[in-house]
């Protein structure tokens, strides 16, 4: 019998979660449709002046992405918790952190990546310039994985609690403020002609930091939740 390597486990978990997401497409679509709806409501609500829309575009897209990512956090571990798969996951002979990382990556591919791909279309609604759109996408590409990773910690801590969905938003949203600031800051800098490198580099630093710490913290939180 072949032993599975650490990266074999990572691949297995990602593939599994993607197959499950494909068989439960409604869950994936709700996040995306929510994102599209919230962003599209703003031009209707605040009126169609192009100058104002251009100015608030990045902020609106980022806040909507933040809220949309909260929507799917509750599902990250709860299905596995309810049917006992999480118990078996605790007993993996390889690293639990690696398994958690796999779940985070799969969660991002299902709920974060579609938002990144959709953002340019929505940006056009706000009359964003091509350059600003590229920066927005770059920022979202760096930022949405952080949202998934920080969210995973919150989801693990609130696992099995009644009303955990609201609690996880209260826990996680404040922690995502830096991501929001640097993400919108980068677009603002691009519009005003300043250097965007500092904002994007800070986002990358946050991404690396989250990549190193959150899988391990999430694994510990899951162990506590399972007791």
């Amino acid at each position: 019998m072949n032993r599975l390597s650490l990266f074999g486990l990572l691949g297995l978990v990602i593939r599994r979660d993607l197959i499950l997401a494909m068989r439960r497409r409604a869950d994936v679509l709700t996040t995306l449709i929510f994102f599209v709806m919230v962003v599209s409501l703003f031009p209707l609500g605040v009126g169609p002046e192009p100058d104002m829309l251009r100015k608030m575009a990045a902020g609106v897209v980022w806040v909507a992405a933040l809220l949309a990512s909260m929507l799917s956090l509750g599902r990250m571990f709860s299905a596995d918790y309810l049917d006992g798969t999480l118990e078996q996951m605790m007993l993996v002979p390889q690293s639990l952190s690696m398994l958690v990382l796999g779940k985070i990556v799969a969660h991002w591919m299902v709920s974060g990546l579609p938002l990144v791909l959709m953002a340019p279309v929505l940006g056009l609604q706000f009359d964003m310039s091509a350059q600003a759109l590229w920066i927005l996408i770059a920022g979202l590409l760096l930022g949405t994985p952080i949202l998934s990773m920080v969210g995973a910690v919150g989801a693990a801590l609130t696992l099995g609690l009644r009303g955990g969905g609201v609690l996880v938003s209260l826990l996680v949203l404040p922690l995502c403020i830096p991501v929001l600031i640097f993400g919108t800051g980068a677009v603002d800098a691009a519009i005003t002609g300043m250097s965007v490198a500092s904002h994007l580099l800070l986002l990358s630093a946050l991404l690396l930091l989250a990549l190193v710490f959150t899988p391990w913290v999430t694994a510990q939180a899951l162990r506590i939740s399972m007791e």
Partner: protein
């Protein structure tokens, strides 16, 4: 192999049991008995490391399981009340993932053979959600067939199973013990394995 010394376990403020000591050697079968709420499941979950014991120590091959951690998990298999199978996936996909989580990659041929032995011929590629409760349990139990872990921890393995499946379980446990395996289980149904004396541990 497995040594439990002075183990105590509590749920909240309620002490379930204390001063529990036993050892399990290769080829032994241990049934944990007790009334509802006496701590059978808690004992098994403590043995899996899900719960911290309130006192005492669990040792595997003379080392504390907390220190062994992943090395211990590679040598045990746990089957709880929940089947750990996904409704959206079919039996083969479920088992391949379960085997992957247990740390081994299994060929499809072996999985199908295991499912057929569990009496699920023709059900291999149906989504699990269309299977009955007993058939789902059989899918979950099929994991035992291609695991090479010496220690089996089974919590109520016979729930929802019919008479023929119970017979099959007795056979599986018998084979496992003959290969120097160890089994700890709880059940409210009689489960006797031919040629093996079941040790009983009573929680009160």
């Amino acid at each position: 192999m497995l040594e439990i010394s002075n183990l105590a376990c509590s749920r909240g403020d309620h002490l379930l049991f204390s001063e529990l000591s036993f050892t399990l050697a290769a080829g032994e079968l241990l049934q944990v008995e007790g009334v509802n709420g006496s701590g059978k499941t808690s004992l098994l979950r403590t043995l899996c490391g899900f719960m911290m014991p309130a006192a005492g120590e669990i040792r595997w091959r003379n080392q504390n399981i907390r220190e062994l951690d992943e090395a211990y998990y590679a040598e045990m298999i746990y089957l709880g009340h929940l089947n750990a199978i996904k409704d959206e996936l079919n039996a083969v996909e479920n088992l391949r993932i379960n085997a992957g989580l247990a740390g081994c990659a299994v060929e499809e041929k072996k999985i199908i053979a295991a499912l057929r032995r569990m009496g699920l011929r023709g059900r291999e590629t149906l989504p699990v959600k269309v299977l009955s409760q007993g058939q789902r349990r059989r899918v979950a139990l099929a994991r035992l067939l291609f695991s090479n872990a010496p220690l089996w921890i089974l919590d109520e393995p016979l729930t929802a199973l019919d008479v023929s499946a119970v017979g099959l379980m007795q056979e599986l446990i018998g084979e496992h013990l003959a290969h120097q395996g160890m089994v700890i289980y709880t059940t409210h149904q009689p489960l006797e394995v031919a040629g093996i004396t079941t040790r009983r541990l009573s929680l009160s």
